[in-house]
């Protein structure tokens, strides 16, 4: 059996993984919370972020963390284009939720196939020293890449929260999220705010993609999928309209998933995740940290 000291190692490993879950879920949560629209292509934006890292690092030899900034900007633009094509035309119509689900599904299929055609299905990777350098504190080891990803995750979440609370556009985003009609009445350009939100959400996804790619293998057209699932689970756990909730939910999920597999087997792990997920969804649809949604 696993020794006790190994548990602390696992606890830290999975807390870090959970933090990364939080980062990958952040963009999704923002878009969903503000626009009440599910971005089905979220995982594919992560994937484009990973490829951005691959190409910038291999072609220009820059540091992957600078690539994260590049990805943030590029994906922000891509996000806005996507918004104009696929979200804005349908989001306010009746049945808008379902329509955005399907339009982003279309975007998802297009992005995956484009990646396949342009970049081939071969799994790519880029060498970086962060992945194979380790830090060790009190006998607990982790790679530098993972530690940085965790740190960036915390910083990004604090930054987004502060942005929403202090910056004018951020405040407008919050206003739109809480009451779109009221926001329009007080003179907020709601479509523009939606555009900014979607851009920001996708930009965050792109950045998350780069950070994931620094330690997780295999950059390929379908690489976003696995993080996609984790993101959805985290968003539901956290509940909508909470930024800090995302990181807490991420860590809780990461740790329970990791320790759960010590008790149960890996074959049972997924069953456990979905059972818990469905239970939370049914008993507390507003999530663990979200505010209760009132029945209209």
């Amino acid at each position: 059996m696993v020794e006790f000291s190994a548990y602390t190692q696992l606890l830290v490993s999975y807390a870090i993984l959970g933090g990364v879950y939080g980062l990958t879920a952040l963009g999704l949560s923002l878009i969903w919370g503000v626009m009440k629209a599910v971005n089905w292509a979220h995982g594919d934006f992560l994937m484009v972020g990973m490829y951005t890292a691959f190409w910038t690092v291999t072609l220009f030899g820059i540091d992957p963390y600078i690539a994260a900034i590049v990805a943030f900007i590029l994906l922000g633009l891509l996000g806005m284009v996507t918004h104009v094509i696929a979200i804005e035309p349908v989001v306010e119509k009746p049945g808008g939720h379902e329509a955005t689900l399907l339009t982003t599904l279309g975007i998802s299929v297009i992005l995956e196939s484009l990646a396949l055609i342009l970049w081939s299905p071969s799994p790519r990777s880029f060498q970086n020293v962060y992945k194979s350098t380790y830090i060790e504190v009190f006998g607990i080891r982790t790679s530098v890449a993972e530690a940085i990803a965790f740190a960036v995750s915390i910083v990004a979440i604090v930054a987004v929260d502060q942005f929403l609370k202090r910056v004018r556009i951020g405040k407008a985003i919050r206003a739109v999220s809480q009451n779109p009609v009221g926001a329009r009445v007080v003179g907020i350009d709601v479509p523009r705010i939606r555009l900014m939100t979607f851009g920001l959400g996708v930009a965050l996804a792109g950045m998350a993609g780069v950070l994931v790619a620094t330690f997780y293998p295999n950059i390929r057209p379908l690489a976003g999928y696995v993080w996609d699932i984790a993101s959805y689970v985290v968003v539901i756990f956290a509940g909508l309209g909470t930024i800090y909730g995302v990181i807490f939910a991420g860590i809780i999920i990461g740790v329970t998933e990791g320790l759960g597999t010590i008790v149960f087997s890996n074959a049972f792990r997924q069953i456990l995740v979905y059972v818990v997920f469905l239970t939370v969804l049914l008993l507390r649809p507003q999530g663990l940290f979200g505010k209760a949604l009132r029945r209209v």
């Binding site: 969903w32 009440k36 629209a37 599910v38 094509i85 696929a86 035309p89 349908v90 119509k93 049945g95 939720h97 379902e98 329509a99 689900l101 399907l102 339009t103 599904l105 279309g106 975007i107 998802s108 299929v109 297009i110 995956e112 196939s113 484009l114 396949l116 055609i117 959805y232 539901i236 074959a267 049972f268 997924q270 069953i271 979905y274 059972v275 997920f277 469905l278 969804l281 049914l282 649809p285």
Partner: protein
């Protein structure tokens, strides 16, 4: 007026005859494509009961396909029960699972329901993998019997007629369902739940039964699918892609109408299969891009689906003519 009515029947008769003689002059590839379009049309129509008429956007219907397929296939391979009987059992098993999803729909709305159904489907897949003793786990089950008494045919043409009959049955069912008391009740709930309660509709029961009917039909579709493909395995049958394709077909065709599923399937299924045949060997993936573009264009530009568009055009022309 009567003249017009007669024309309508003539057109229907011609279409029917064309569909029936199609396998006689078309090659097996085309037959196979059209046949799959019918199957998907039926699945989309089944989805329509909850997704279109019920307004609950399910993305877990692949789970019902799987439950249906597994039920009848296990009955067939382990107990020798013919799928002609097994498909009803398949429907019942899937329907029972559908009722569970219906219960969930009482609490979950919009994207939450969609996500819940995705999780439900994943769970079904994992359970099918986990209970190896019954389902064969990750190795799946291969249908080894043969003969029409086991719903297994030699030629695609037979399957073509089977799926055609299935599709027509689905169409007639939806036509009847739409005007039935239950159908009106389900739509009333979709349109306004409180007002529906206010006219005496039992919202809980109606939603649960609606989901069960949808799953029942999907389960039967699952049996037919298994009989055609001859091999089922959890990971290749409970695919999110299938769930989304079912929904996409119905929405593109026109959700909440009897014809939506058929129209959507006749457009999207041949499109993806035919484009794949053309481009698959040259530029793999191009066909999927075009598929995605069509989906995007229709959902954005044609709210209400193709059928909705045609009907609006037709109505406005009729108005103009009068």
């Amino acid at each position: 007026m009567e003249f017009k009515l007669a024309w309508k029947w003539v057109v229907i008769a011609i279409l029917l005859i064309l569909a029936l003689i199609f396998p006689l002059f078309a090659d097996e590839f085309l037959v196979s494509i059209l046949m799959q379009a019918y199957l998907w049309a039926f699945l989309a129509m089944s989805w329509d009961v909850i997704g279109g008429y019920g307004g609950q956007f399910s993305l877990g219907h692949a789970a019902f396909i799987a439950l249906g397929a597994y039920t009848s296939t296990i009955l067939l391979e382990s107990y020798g029960v013919s799928p002609w009987i097994g498909m009803w059992a398949a429907g019942l098993v899937a329907g029972a699972a559908g009722a569970l999803v219906g219960v969930a729909s009482l609490r979950l709305r919009g994207p939450f329901f969609a996500l819940g159904t995705i999780a439900f489907a994943e769970l079904v897949k994992l359970l099918l993998l986990y209970f190896k003793g019954i389902t064969g786990g990750p190795l799946g089950i291969l249908i080894t019997k043969s003969g029409p008494e086991y719903m297994l045919f030699e030629s695609q043409a037979h399957y073509y007629y089977l799926m055609f009959a299935l599709m027509i049955a689905g169409l007639l069912f939806l036509k009847w369902f739409e005007a039935s008391k239950f159908g009106i009740g389900l739509v009333a709930i979709r349109e306004d739940e409180e007002a529906a309660e206010g006219v005496g509709i039992n919202v809980y029961r109606t939603k649960v039964i609606g989901a069960a009917i949808s799953a029942f039909l999907t389960g039967i579709g699952g049996t037919i699918y298994a009989q055609w493909i001859h091999f089922i395995r959890p990971d290749i049958i409970v695919k999110l892609e299938y769930s989304t394709q079912i929904a996409a077909i119905d929405v593109v065709g026109g959700a909440g109408t009897p014809y939506g599923g058929l129209i959507g399937a006749l457009i999207l299924v041949p499109l993806s299969l035919y484009l794949n045949a053309i481009f698959g060997g040259m530029i793999a993936g191009l066909s999927l891009i075009l598929y995605g573009v069509v989906l995007l264009v229709v959902v954005v530009m044609v709210p209400g689906g193709i059928y909705g568009l045609v009907r609006r055009k037709w109505l406005s022309r009729k108005k103009g003519g009068e």
